[in-house]
Subunit: 382 residues, 2 copies
């Protein structure tokens, strides 16, 4: 049995060395994705000297009257020149005459017979955005590694990018195993499906397998055929007579680790079949969720290369005593109430141990006990 740190090192090295190709996606579907290249603008923004107001463009502000000679609406790209005593009606966002220096807002002028304007008061602002003041041609507007959100997507749109190169998002096949699934409700494939979506990856439910070699191998073959980049099984990974996952991985590939000094989650397996990484999650529902947070989510984050880690940690006072055993790391779900972290763990197989919790606490190796009122770090669920 290896320590949690050894297991995490194996996983970490594996995910960082495995290569996944970048891909192009439509920016409408790029939310949450990580940019795989620097974005250099190939346009000036604004593209032209642009009016910030509905009003009248003029060359200078010193005249009492200006003659209206034209109207320019957004989208009108004419190159106009005006004289000192002339003005042009301009709409917000439209291109002003080339030599205009000011826009007098419509509410600050009297209009006489639709021909002449008389400024009512002197403006103190130009109300013009000059070409390139927002973004310049050739400017680096986003760095490789940035995560796309509603604003950075807008930025891509504004520089004319419709498809963007982003880091790969793996497709992950989920297989539940166990003869009992014909009798009791199957849970783990649904929690894993949701966890994979949380990581912005693509879950594929392959199916449930009974506890025999043929059934499990068929499911694995189906996942490979569907081009899954990663396979996750749940159940069948402990040391019972029908725990077949370790044998299958050993026969068809190799086991990189199996059994870790942690609770819940001790039977955890990680290996490879046909160069595809396979996670053998414990079948107990709480163990499966804890192992997803400890192993699977950081692994997927490495691959999709999120900029910020999603770990949110808060401090709280422990609501009771927890004990562990030498060399083991213990994770225990807690519910936060008024700064108290109440222990909710009842057993690895009992979903109510975790379903109403807000996060975990962790007892490191040889940190054998934590007492009521100790201040602890609570690692919040997403």
């Amino acid at each position: 049995m290896i320590s949690l740190n050894e297991a995490l090192n194996i996983l970490n090295n594996y995910s960082l060395n495995k290569k996944y190709p970048a891909e192009y996606v439509d920016i409408y579907n790029s939310q949450g994705r990580i940019i795989a290249e620097d974005i250099i603008s190939k346009v000036d923004i604004p593209l032209y000297n642009r009016s910030n107001m509905d009003g009248y463009a003029v060359v200078d502000l010193n005249l009492k009257q200006y003659k209206i000679i034209d109207e320019i609406f957004a989208g009108d790209m004419r190159d106009l020149i005006i004289k000192q005593n002339e003005c042009v009606y301009v709409a917000t966002g439209s291109k002003i005459p080339n030599n205009a220096n000011f826009v007098i807002p419509i509410e600050l002028v009297n209009i006489i017979d639709n021909e002449i304007i008389e400024p009512i008061e002197k403006i103190t602002e130009k109300y013009i955005s000059k070409i390139g003041t927002d973004i310049k041609y050739g400017e680096k507007v986003l760095k490789r590694g940035a995560k796309l959100n509603e604003r950075t997507i807008g930025l891509l749109a504004s520089v004319g990018i419709e498809k963007v190169k982003v880091n790969y998002v793996p497709k992950i096949g989920i297989i539940s195993t166990g003869n009992e699934l014909s009798v009791i409700n199957e849970v783990n494939s649904k929690t894993l499906y949701s966890i994979i979506k949380m990581a912005n990856c693509i879950p594929v439910h392959i199916g449930n397998a009974r506890d025999n070699m043929e059934d499990i191998e068929n499911m694995i073959n189906k996942a490979i055929k569907l081009n899954c980049d990663i396979i996750i099984t749940s159940g069948g990974v402990s040391e019972g007579k029908k725990d077949l996952i370790p044998n299958i991985v050993l026969n068809r590939g190799n086991i990189l680790f199996h059994k870790v000094k942690m609770r819940p989650g001790k039977p955890m397996l990680f290996g490879e079949i046909d160069s595809i990484p396979i996670f053998g999650m414990p079948g107990n529902v709480v163990s499966c969720i804890v192992c997803s947070y400890v192993y699977l989510l950081p692994f997927l984050e490495n691959i999709t290369k999120k900029m910020q880690t999603t770990k949110k940690i808060v401090k709280a006072k422990l609501g009771g005593k927890v004990c562990s055993e030498p060399d083991f790391v213990y994770y225990r779900p807690v519910k936060l109430e008024n700064g108290i972290a109440h222990l909710t763990f009842k057993g690895s197989g009992l979903i109510t141990s975790i379903v109403y919790a807000d996060g975990f606490i962790k007892l490191n190796e040889n940190e054998l006990q934590k007492n009521k009122d100790d201040v602890v770090d609570v690692w919040l669920f997403e």
Copy 2:
């Protein structure tokens, strides 16, 4: 022109009074949705007295030897009875004999000729989860209003629910307007699309309309035909000669508010066409994003009834001075660095005003100035 609070009240009342039907979704696709009914379990979990270990089920612990009389694997639902001097091999998760009280783990026994076990040491735990200890038949396991996550989805699965009744998620049609969109890159439909996804709603890009009544009305008709529950336009909502949105809403429905004392975002319009709410967002990109946070996201949260508000507020020292004008609410994007909130606003139409920011600060009505080093609340972006 109305105050921001008046506008928010109108919106709030509107969204709370508008009825949207609950619907059933497959639990695989239920992440982030809000449950529309209490969930009562119709099963006991565990469904039977279940072994927590691979080992041997016995009636009591006082014997030196037990005769192995059978094997039970997960999924085997036989009702077995054993004698005092007998034991049965049980796998983790399997149903133990009806009268068994203890499971002795496999690693704590010597097995003699596959017929007899001898316990090596006395166990202190029963290693059994009794029927119903996790969840009882008839127990309320989730309350109406709970947001579904990887764990609550697992809970639904465990009580046998495959389709769950959830609050309605509106389908929202997005229309950008402006003749300039033939010349410059269109941005707002992409940011709005992303913001609607952030709110777990369904965006539909209807298209871009030129600044004429027919074009805009065609797009609105298309949105209605596609059964959009809400329509969002951007641009054409100010007071210029080609600002046609207010006219169209007035002709075909009614305007609930138009123009609000806030910057950016002053031209904001909200109304109804054919009983469908319509948001007329300002065309300037920063105004459009700010109005999405101020008006659209809270409106959508009211409809989808998220339990927790998504507003995250942190304190920071202001990096410079900001001034506003009487009666107006001002929003200004800021970038956080070492506890300093640096102002990034350059103009409502300049996307770099907001794209690299972390959140907003707000100057309330008649809070006319904030100075460098003032401690401010920063409302973080999602």
